[in-house]
């Protein structure tokens, strides 16, 4: 028995006795590799490079996920399941932010009584806050979900949530808190919507290849889409992707005009977006690159704009509300759109005016809308290509 094992090991470890055969094989392999590289290079030529850019939490990754759902195979069960820990982490982190926030407001705020928690809520809060600061979160069970729900429904926590713009509370909070029972089920498998809502701060670069027409590749262009992190430290990595870009999809979360940056709480997110867009527009690499501006998170915007005036943001200081309800929302949206338009034309040198610039109103969570938007993007890019080829 021992001898056989030794023999086997010898076979595994020595390669020398098949040298000539291996040589021939290697040559054949090298030729095959060369051929493939050539093939790929040819194929690469037809692939259009799209970049998703924008500040942190502007919805780049949500768009990316949507593309995966819409034009690729989507998420299989394993992938969906891998989001359970993310969603649960989102819940624990959010409730910790809210609990710690309410304590802070109760201490420092002038109207502090609103934020004072009762002693029994405090016990739950301390426990959940401790879990939230752990490295490994436990799986959400019924009991924990119940406690989180109790805390969430507490008026002081709700008051704190109302001031969430000061606390870096993620946008998915309301959605997850309202679905706690379902999310804590032992057999819970995230739905597409849950996955779209799940908040993961992207770091580094992720790419995906797709064709908006689906399986029938001949009818549509092939795109390669790059998703990146949006925080300041991540942006220095962008420059490595800037070459040969067909179009930049710039995401701007228009609902974040009263929030500050995750990485710098002195800076308004909208002002940062403005400066970032300006910087991207002025990049020498993007001389001929099309710009697709996604004014994203319209769903949150339309709710917020009626409660929080647009002019709290320094960039929109000159905004004057005109009416109420739907009209007001439209008016505010048009104002923001105009601001971005102005910025685009200010930051675009005269020799670059012929590049494509389109603005879309999006809600990255809305699958139909994203699909429609991408059809439009695809169309305008194809038209552009034809134009460049002299066919239009």
């Amino acid at each position: 028995m021992l001898i056989t094992v030794l023999e086997n090991m010898g076979l595994l470890c020595s390669k020398n006795h098949r040298y000539t055969e291996a040589d021939a094989e290697e040559n054949a392999q090298a030729a095959e590799i060369d051929r493939r590289i050539e093939q790929e290079r040819k194929a690469e030529k037809h692939i259009q490079k799209l970049l998703l850019l924008g500040a942190g939490e502007s919805g780049k990754s949500t768009i990316f996920k949507q593309i995966k759902l819409l034009f690729q195979t989507g998420f299989d069960e394993d992938e969906l399941k891998s989001y359970i820990s993310v969603i649960h982490a989102n819940i624990y982190q959010t409730i910790k932010i809210l609990y710690d926030g309410s304590k802070e407001f109760a201490q420092n705020d002038a109207d502090s009584s609103k934020y004072v928690l009762s002693s029994e809520i405090k016990v739950i809060g301390e426990k959940l806050s401790e879990i939230g600061s752990r490295l490994d979160y436990p799986r959400l069970n019924r009991e924990l979900a119940q406690e989180i729900e109790t805390l969430w429904k507490d008026s002081a926590i709700q008051e704190t949530y109302a001031r969430g713009n000061e606390l870096q509370v993620p946008d998915c909070t309301h959605y997850f808190m309202e679905n706690l029972q379902r999310l804590s089920d032992a057999n819970y498998i995230p739905t597409k919507e849950d996955v779209l809502y799940a908040r993961v701060r992207t770091t580094g670069v992720v790419e995906i290849q797709f064709s908006p027409m689906g399986e029938n590749k001949k009818s549509g262009e092939v795109y390669r889409l790059f998703d990146v992190g949006g925080q300041r430290n991540e942006r220095r990595k962008w420059i490595h992707l800037f070459e040969g870009v067909t179009a930049v999809i710039f995401c701007a979360a228009i609902s974040e005009y009263d929030q500050t940056l995750f990485e710098d709480e002195q800076k308004n997110r909208m002002v940062e977006t403005k400066e970032l867009f300006d910087w991207v527009l002025k990049q020498p690499c993007f001389e001929k690159t099309s710009f697709m501006l996604f004014l994203n998170k319209f769903d949150i915007f339309e709710n917020k704009v009626l409660k929080v005036p647009l002019n709290v943001c320094e960039w929109f200081k000159d905004y004057q509300p005109v009416s109420t309800g739907k009209q007001e929302i439209e008016h505010a949206y048009e104002f923001v759109k105009k601001k971005f338009e102005e910025l685009y034309f200010q930051s675009t040198a005269p020799d670059r005016v012929d590049r494509v610039f389109k603005i879309y109103r999006t809600t990255a969570l809305d699958q139909k809308l994203v699909k429609k938007t991408f059809k439009l993007v695809d169309e305008s890019l194809r038209r552009r290509n034809l134009f460049e080829a002299g066919l239009l």
Binding site: S82, T203, G204, V206, E207, E234
Partner: protein, 477 residues
């Protein structure tokens, strides 16, 4: 004949004295030109020859300011005590330009202020164990203010006589101001004397201070003599000579002493060990830092284990780091690695801990740092406002946040990447020294396919362990 001879001799004497004075002037000017060149070369040479990474911020600017200040100081003395003769009088020959402004706020005051700013930083970091409450670029103008004020007062009151001398009444406060700054510098240096610095900053500093203190004594003595007795000509000559000699030595001494590691690497031409190929951990002598030990056991890696536990395994960490670098997200893993190294330094060795902590803060935490990590504003502020740089939990929160980030972003892709396959293969082969096989085709990870170019900032050969500071510099762009 005699008369003629006398005339010739006189003529010759005149000529000779003219030549001598010319030579003397030439010699002096050559001396200063060479001194100036030397200072300039010393301050800039290392960048070109040794390719020392140029430090950003105060570590770079303070030495540069010192070069300028010492040049000003010497020039001010030369001009103020009339070493150079001018036939015509120009407006810029005014005593107040040279003896007051250039000697004080732009010369000696600036030089001492720079030194004090450095000593103050060291004092805060190593004695108070926290980051200095005020940045050098704010601190420096602040402590320079008394000099500017003093110069302005003197400029206004015009107490100088035609030979640029103060007289007794003004000499006392002027000398007091000079010695106050020397005393403050000595005070800060005393406060940090018990700290055993890693890069011999203090020993150098003390040597310099002892040397310069005695020289300052001579200098002050000569200065006072020169100022008060401006009627005794031999004393004037001697004291001026002493002033210039001691001041020149002083400036040279100032440049041979270093107060902090970055200064040393920039100003000194002495060849130190090549720092750039090492990690901070290795420089600080952390055991088993950097290089992989062959004898390290290859542990079976179970993807279901939490990532933070897995990352404690060095081989796994390096494989994971190579993967993270390839998708431009390596800084979190590098941070994990260095914080792990910091954890190896015992708590009772505060100096090494402070060095490491400061290194980590400068490299990963500061806004705009070379490998800034993706952490929240609050956590960053917490670290920067710490009251104890040696605290074992200084980076814990940041580490938690980044481990979460890695878990959510990278972990899943890693298990399907070429790096994990390589890692498994290596682990298997290590036991029987098999050759590696080409496995490019197995890369299922949705990570970058096209940006693995040479300009990839994280493009480092991690299996051969090359962790240079240059690569970070290129990554800055």
């Amino acid at each position: 004949m005699d008369g003629q001879f006398c005339l010739v001799t006189n003529h010759l004497m005149l000529c000779l004295s003219g030549i001598f004075s010319f030579l003397f002037n030439l010699f002096i000017s050559l001396f200063f030109v060479s001194l100036f060149c030397r200072l300039i070369v010393r301050s800039t040479f290392p960048f070109f020859i040794h390719k020392v990474p140029i430090a950003k911020g105060s570590a770079f600017w303070i030495p540069v300011i010192q070069v300028i200040a010492s040049f000003n100081f010497l020039l001010a003395i030369v001009m103020a005590v009339n070493f150079l003769k001018y036939k015509k009088s120009h407006w810029w020959l005014s005593c107040y330009v040279w003896a007051v402004w250039l000697e004080g706020p732009l010369g000696f005051g600036l030089l001492m202020s720079c030194r004090i700013a450095q000593a103050f930083q060291l004092f805060y970091v190593f004695v108070k164990r926290r980051l200095p409450p005020i940045r050098s670029h704010m601190f420096l103008p602040l402590i320079l203010l008394p000099w500017v004020a003093g110069a302005a007062v003197i400029h206004e009151k015009k107490p100088l006589n035609y030979r640029c001398h103060f007289g007794t009444y003004w000499t006392i406060p002027v000398v007091c101001l000079h010695s106050l700054y020397v005393a403050v510098l000595m005070g800060f240096t005393r406060a940090i004397r018990h700290i055993e610095f890693r890069f011999d900053e203090l020993r150098d500093l003390w040597q310099g201070i002892l040397g310069s203190a005695s020289l300052i004594g001579v200098w002050v003595f000569a200065y006072i003599l020169n100022e008060i007795h401006d009627d005794i000509s031999w004393l004037q000559v001697a004291s001026r000579f002493m002033l210039l000699v001691t001041a020149s030595i002083l400036v040279l001494v100032f440049f041979s002493i270093s107060i902090a590691q970055p200064l040393l690497s920039q100003i000194s031409l002495r060849k130190r060990e090549p720092l750039e190929l090492k990690t901070m951990g290795q420089v600080l002598g952390i055991p088993e830092s950097g290089l992989l030990l062959q004898r390290e056991q290859a542990v079976d890696i179970d993807p279901n284990e939490p990532l933070d536990k897995l990352l404690l395994n060095k081989r796994f960490r390096q494989s994971f780091m190579a993967f993270a670098d390839s998708c431009l997200a390596g800084e979190s893993v590098h941070f994990f690695d260095e914080v792990h190294e910091l954890g190896k330094i015992p708590i009772d060795d505060p100096v090494r801990r402070i060095y490491m902590a400061r290194h980590i803060i400068n490299k990963y935490i500061n806004a705009g740092a070379a490998m800034e990590v993706n952490i929240s504003h609050r956590i960053r502020q917490e670290i920067l406002a710490t009251t104890d740089l040696t605290h074992p939990d200084l980076f814990t929160n940041a580490l938690h946040e980044l481990t979460q980030l890695m878990k959510m972003n990278l972990a899943k892709d890693y298990w399907s990447s070429i790096y994990f396959i390589k890692f498994k293969e290596e682990a298997r082969m290590r036991s029987c020294e098999h050759e590696m096989e080409e496995m490019r085709g197995y890369d299922f990870s949705p990570r970058l396919s096209s940006v693995n170019a040479t300009d990839d900032p994280f493009h480092q050969d991690h299996f051969s362990r090359g962790f240079t500071q240059h690569s970070h510099a290129s990554y800055l762009r």
